[in-house]
Symmetry: C2
Subunit: 547 residues, 2 copies
């Protein structure tokens, strides 16, 4: 920094951060020779690993579930260092393919791995497991810089957090930090520091956001367990877009003490960290480890409740939300819903429709979009202005283009919170009513995590399918179901869009554009029924013929 150039000061700062990232990647040994530059990469990155990694690296990073890898590590059938190096190299490849990293923790991870290997006995529930992390959360260790994708913050030191300290104590290896978008409030991942992260199934599509660095990395199996965060879909949308598992707990289960985020102290709507994993068991493992540390003893606003696995004693009752009453999902999403609903029905579950039209999801969005920015966005816009970096289009979308966003007086704030609480109450009561008249109450809602597969860049301009559950503070998990198949997912040429957003989404679709992109679904439970959501996911996947 400080060198004379024609660059704007913000460009110099951003360049400094990229140079730091590049230096961290330059440490990779053996080097990944021959990886094409971005312009010459194939549309889909899924075949790259076997071309650039050793068979042993491929085996380590691909062959095992998280549980199996943990047991191999614990039994010392493989060294932590070998596992760590394999994921470090695969992560570097994922970076070359998708631009998903802000930093590869090469030296730190290998040092940590060697330390763990040197222990007489393996210790900790995550012994030797490589974990990747969303950048703005911070990181254990020294000389940690955490920008949260604000150019203004790239040279600010910011260290660890309560959650990562817990994982660290349980023996994990942090090895890669991943990108998030400007403001951490896009459902894509683009910033002025690191540019755009792309989908490992199709470079022309987004990897989702805001935890889109994680999804691109894990979607390449450059990591098998990552930590994202979700206040509007930021774990679920990116997980869905690359066909991995993601879970947004109820807020105040997993804490945020130590995270670097704008809006500290804002209570209108809260986000929370959540796992993003290659397999379902990783979700529960994350929650179990995070909560067995009893974080509420340090961050006392958290719910004082350890993870309490739920088991259905009879098949769950599933309500299918075919659409949210605002935007019609694309055909592959509707097909995924139909296939899974059919499988559940065949497995003996009661499957009913979840009718949203009386519940006015659009009103929910009007409330939520205002709750995001009770200061009118002043703080984040100020952070952007501080460095002079440009405001990106999806930042404009979520602040300037939402008619509800404005700086509120205290009384306007109170009135908005009353509206929020009334909306939540109405929804809760509607759910309770499903149990009236001798009916069984619905256990979970099965719904889209997005109107479709990953969108082309810049098009993630409808948040309703994920953000609605943040408004309600309902726990929700996403899981992979299928891929877009032009032979099955023709466009409905007769459909007449119901409103402007619906038309925007309808016009976006053509089967070819999304061909082979992952399609995922979402399971949603009532507030604080986190354990039930993951139990329902087990039942649903079993009905789908998965183990």
């Amino acid at each position: 920094m400080g060198s004379v150039s024609n660059l704007q000061p913000w460009e110099e700062k951003a360049g400094w951060a990229r140079a730091r990232r590049d230096a961290s990647l330059a440490k990779v040994k053996p080097k990944l020779d021959g990886v094409p530059d971005a312009d010459n990469l194939p549309l889909c990155s899924q075949d790259l690993p076997k071309a650039f990694l050793t068979p042993r690296e491929t085996e380590i990073t691909e062959k095992y579930t998280i549980t199996k890898l943990l047991s191999l590590l614990r039994e010392r059938q493989v060294t932590v260092e070998e596992v760590t190096r394999a994921f470090l190299r695969r992560a570097a490849l994922a970076q070359a393919a998708t631009n998903c990293l802000t930093e590869l923790l090469w030296d730190e991870a290998i040092e940590r791995a060697r330390h763990l290997d040197s222990l007489l006995e393996p210790r900790g529930a995550l012994f030797g497991l490589p974990i990747s992390t969303k950048e703005h959360h911070g990181m254990v260790g020294k000389n940690v810089f955490t920008s949260a994708s604000f150019v203004a913050w790239v040279d600010k030191e910011h260290g660890s957090n309560l959650l990562y300290d817990t994982f660290w104590k349980e023996g994990c290896v942090f090895f890669a930090r991943t990108t998030q978008p400007q403001t951490i409030m896009h459902l894509e991942t683009e910033s002025n520091i690191y540019g755009r992260t792309v989908n490992p199934y199709n470079r022309e599509l987004t990897s989702g956001g805001s935890s889109g660095g994680e999804s691109a990395l894990i979607g390449m199996r450059g990591s098998i367990l990552g930590v994202g965060g979700d206040i509007g879909g930021s774990v679920r949308c990116p997980a869905a877009h690359v066909g991995i598992y993601g879970f947004k707990p109820s807020i105040k289960r997993v804490g945020t003490t130590g995270f670097r985020t704008p809006g500290a102290g804002k209570e209108t709507i809260s986000g929370c960290p959540g796992p993003m994993t290659v397999d379902r068991d990783g979700l529960e493992l994350f929650m179990m480890v995070a909560l067995s540390a009893r974080p509420w003893r340090v961050e006392p606003s958290l719910t004082p409740k350890e993870w309490t696995p739920y088991k259905f004693t009879r098949p769950p009752k599933i309500a299918v939300q075919w659409w949210d009453g605002v935007v019609q999902p694309h055909p592959p999403m509707t097909r995924a819903l139909r296939e899974v609903a059919d499988a559940c029905r065949k497995a003996g579950m009661e499957v009913v429709d979840w009718d949203c039209e009386g519940l006015d999801h659009q009103k929910g969005w009007d409330i939520l979009s205002a709750l995001y920015w009770p200061d009118g966005g002043k703080e984040v816009l100020g952070l952007i202005a501080e460095s002079g970096e440009p405001i990106l289009p999806l930042t404009k979308f979520i602040i300037h283009e939402q008619p509800t966003v404005k700086e509120l007086t205290q009384h306007e704030l109170w009135a908005l919170c009353v509206k929020r609480d009334e909306y939540r109450a109405r929804y809760a009561q509607a759910w309770s009513k499903t149990g009236n008249d001798g009916n069984r109450e619905v256990d979970v809602i099965l719904c889209p995590p997005s109107f479709g597969a990953a969108t082309p860049h810049g098009q993630s301009r409808y948040w309703g399918y994920t953000a609605h559950w943040n408004l309600l503070d309902y726990p929700a998990a996403v899981f992979p179901v299928t891929k877009v198949d032009p032979s099955l997912d023709a466009k409905d040429v007769d459909y007449v869009p119901k409103n402007g957003q619906d038309k925007f989404v309808y016009d976006m679709y053509s089967p070819e554009r999304f061909s082979n992109a992952p399609v995922s679904l979402q399971v949603v439970g009532r507030r604080q029924e986190d354990e039930k959501v993951l139990a329902a996911l087990v039942e649903i996947e079993r009905a789908m013929g998965r183990a």
Copy 2:
């Protein structure tokens, strides 16, 4: 209303409300003949009931615990109507003695009692139990007016709430509504509508507040179970001042849906309803019934957890807070602490000191007093101005005289909430640390619920001993211990006050002034450990030789 007079319009409105109250009292039959007017009442009201009630009424209202009375009612050894009439008459006497009622529900209660008596089978956990209620909560039924002690609202209809609907379903009889102070934010009970409520042990002392109508009523055994609410001590302070039991749960256990309160939608600091009872078991009964209705299914921000009784398997570890580092308690309070601590020690409990000085309770108050009024008090001052009623001194105290109170911008609000959360975290961590180094962690804190017994009117200007636990959201119960005894509770003439507040409190004390006033203590637990607090109270009272 609307009659021509020399009164200000607000005085007319207030007069209308008093006339309404008086009309409700005029229904009492047989009349309470010969009760002296306020100027001629004895200092202590405790001997009035046996002078003005029948022996049978005295028996019904005095002889039984809540549990016993419920069992007599359920077994139909006594009719609901007889019980109801006895409490109605005793409540009317309490009103004459202490000015504690806004309304006696004579017709409604008797109609309800007759209905319950007419049922073939008794039904509900509260079958036939008379319950008194703080006025601003509202009331079941028709033509319900709820002013929350604002003159501007005296003619506003406002009906029931979720909690009272629950109690109603469980078969209770609502029979009396009780006073609260202007703004519901004094630790005394005075309003421009109903005037001042006085202590049933000493008319020159306050009954506390803001649920001071309840405490005066229950302190006269004009009710045995009442509903108060607490955001700074409003259940515990008045309960302590009349020697009854009171419990402030963690917030979001018992809901507030349907209450009439200023500050709806304000999230900085929250209040909650709580029981005020003549015996300890009433506290748990209240919580059990309130939560067995699973109110979170209607008010989804509530903690989805039924009441889960806690049982100590070894004697609890008690930390005694001898003072809060700001204001030294009066001698009878210190004696009460010493007596109970000694009893606990003798019963085999580990008793240690709770050292507050490093925890800076004054800083806690500076945060809390700002959290109460993020709008600078504009809303309630506006409500007062709307009718033209005068601002009472203790309203001025809690708004104008707190240097921290001002209308905040959103960013100032966020910064304040960050401070609050840091303070809470620091306190939680201090508590956790008591379990370090092989020590057992402290189970509960035993502390004063006030710097002393009930204060002379207008002197309740130090909230620290109750409000601190609201700031922290720790559950807390108060229980009666002793009475001020000039022969034991001499003033410490050598004491040198540490600061202005300490001097104010010190100067207030003389044993004679408080002679025979009840002295109570408080048991405080960690956030959400409500059940443990009541279990500890059982152990502590057992150590004191109570059943």
